[in-house]
């Protein structure tokens, strides 16, 4: 299947491993005399003929998961908007409380389970093994596929993830200082849910980057060995971009 960009991505990881392990090595020329640079220009979107038209359009689009992007922002922003304007919507404290709480819960679930893995390829959860010990597992997608995320999506994801807890913290202080303490429970719930997602995803992202230099992807384990060795030598450590935004 996708030998070109797939092999290129594998090459980036392998090359980084070589550079990290052995220090900076001079660029060597391949055994058949081609300059190594020819193998490296895979970071642009190369139009390859074996993809269908839909795949090509998908690859070129700036936002590949419009629905996920919409829902990522929808629940958070509507929770904030409802909190700010609850007096306009309804007189009842209970209705506002329940609505905002449900919006915050749906936001927590959708960001944790859906938009994280669709937009940036990260996921985190808690697992309890046979002994009853709990482990927190942080997962990062290593191999970008056709429907992997773009930079615009990743930017929207992280901005939405970071700005909303900040806004809820401001609400916390405004609640404390204006002594509207009946909203305190809701604001604290909002802060904890959104900060939990933020912390989980930052942990995923940092954990993935620390280990990326030591990972050899199994998908490329059967590639031709001589070419792999040469690619490792010729790859410079600085060429490992996070341009796909999946890291």
């Amino acid at each position: 299947p996708a030998a070109g960009p797939g092999a290129g991505a594998g090459m980036k990881q392998v090359g980084a491993a070589g550079a990290a392990g052995g220090g900076r090595l001079a660029r060597a020329v391949r055994a058949d005399g081609l300059p190594p640079q020819a193998l490296v220009d895979d970071t642009e979107d190369v139009s390859l003929d074996f993809g269908s038209e839909e795949e090509l359009a998908l690859r070129k689009a700036r936002i590949r998961h419009p629905l996920a992007t919409f829902f990522h922002l929808f629940f958070r922003v509507s929770a904030i908007v409802t909190y700010l304007f609850c007096d306009w919507f309804s007189n009842s404290f209970v209705a506002c409380f329940v609505t905002i709480l449900l919006l915050l819960s749906f936001d927590f679930w959708s960001v944790k389970n859906v938009t994280g893995r669709l937009l940036v390829g990260l996921r985190w959860w808690n697992q309890i093994d046979e002994d009853g010990k709990s482990h927190w597992v942080f997962e990062a997608k290593r191999v970008p596929t056709v429907s992997a995320s773009t930079e615009a999506e990743a930017r929207i994801f992280w901005l939405g993830l970071i700005i909303c807890p900040v806004i809820w913290t401001m609400f916390l202080f405004s609640t404390l200082f204006s002594l509207k303490l009946k909203w305190l429970a809701l604001v604290i719930a909002g802060i904890s849910l959104q900060t939990a997602n933020l912390y989980g995803y930052i942990h995923c992202k940092l954990g993935g980057q620390k280990n990326i230099n030591r990972v050899t992807s199994r998908l490329f384990g059967t590639a031709d060995v001589p070419m792999r060795q040469n690619r490792r030598i010729s790859q410079d450590g600085t060429e490992e971009h996070g341009k796909t935004g999946t890291r």
Binding site: V114, A185, R214, V225, P226
Partner: protein, 217 residues
């Protein structure tokens, strides 16, 4: 590996290996199955897990499903519905017959957190969120009792209705406490079981008291 320094590998034998990542180490097949599954699968899986737990509360057997796959959706729904019923659904006025909505909410969650801290400090092996999950799901019989009480109060408010409500609430209280201790007491050493069961007893007792003394406007 100094002994391998002069080993030469022939060019046509593929050499492959794998370095497992300590964080999040799954095989790539498992990665794809959870990272790339369609959204509907995720929703259905979580809904089924919640439904299974409700069934487990109704028939409390010694099963590990409630403990292993914890989630807090059930406790959230139960807590909100209980607080709504206790609040009476009227607007935020000071002359309510029942406690304020936020008070019930905070009482349930704060009480559950305190019980969890207590059992952890006593050396329990259960994790924080598992304990919250169990305590939250075991509020279900009391929510049913609240529903029954409201229906009975619609009919009449005399002594007979009070006796009916007392019996119903008492039975559900016993059921809640037994269900939660069936899951939680096992994680404690034997001479400390009473120390763990007592706060749970108190927690459900307070909730039952609120239910029993609820009088509508």
């Amino acid at each position: 590996f100094p002994g391998l320094a002069d080993v030469s590998i022939p060019q046509d034998i593929p050499v492959e290996g794998e370095i497992t990542v300590p964080v999040g180490s799954h095989s790539p097949d498992e990665d794809y199955s959870t990272l790339d599954e369609p959204v509907k699968d995720t929703i259905m899986r979580d809904l089924k897990a919640v439904g299974k737990k409700f069934v487990h509360v109704m028939y409390p057997r010694k099963s590990s499903a409630l403990l292993r796959d914890w989630d807090l959706w059930g406790p959230l729904v139960l807590c909100v519905s209980l607080a709504l019923m206790l609040q009476g659904g009227s607007a935020d006025s000071k002359d309510d017959g029942g406690p304020q909505f936020a008070e019930v909410f905070v009482l349930i969650w704060f009480g559950a957190v305190v019980i969890t801290l207590n059992s952890k400090l006593l050396g329990g092996t259960i994790s924080f969120f598992q304990s919250l999950c169990v305590l939250g799901y075991c509020v279900m019989p009391l929510t049913v009792a609240m529903l029954v009480c409201r229906l009975v109060l619609l009919a009449s408010t005399g002594t007979v209705s009070f006796i009916i409500r007392l019996i119903v609430v008492g039975a559900m209280f016993g059921w809640s406490t037994l269900a939660s201790t069936a899951f939680l007491a096992d994680s404690q050493p034997p001479n400390r079981k009473a120390l763990v069961v007592y706060p749970i007893f108190l927690f459900y007792f307070v909730i039952s008291w609120m239910i029993l003394t609820f009088t509508p406007q």
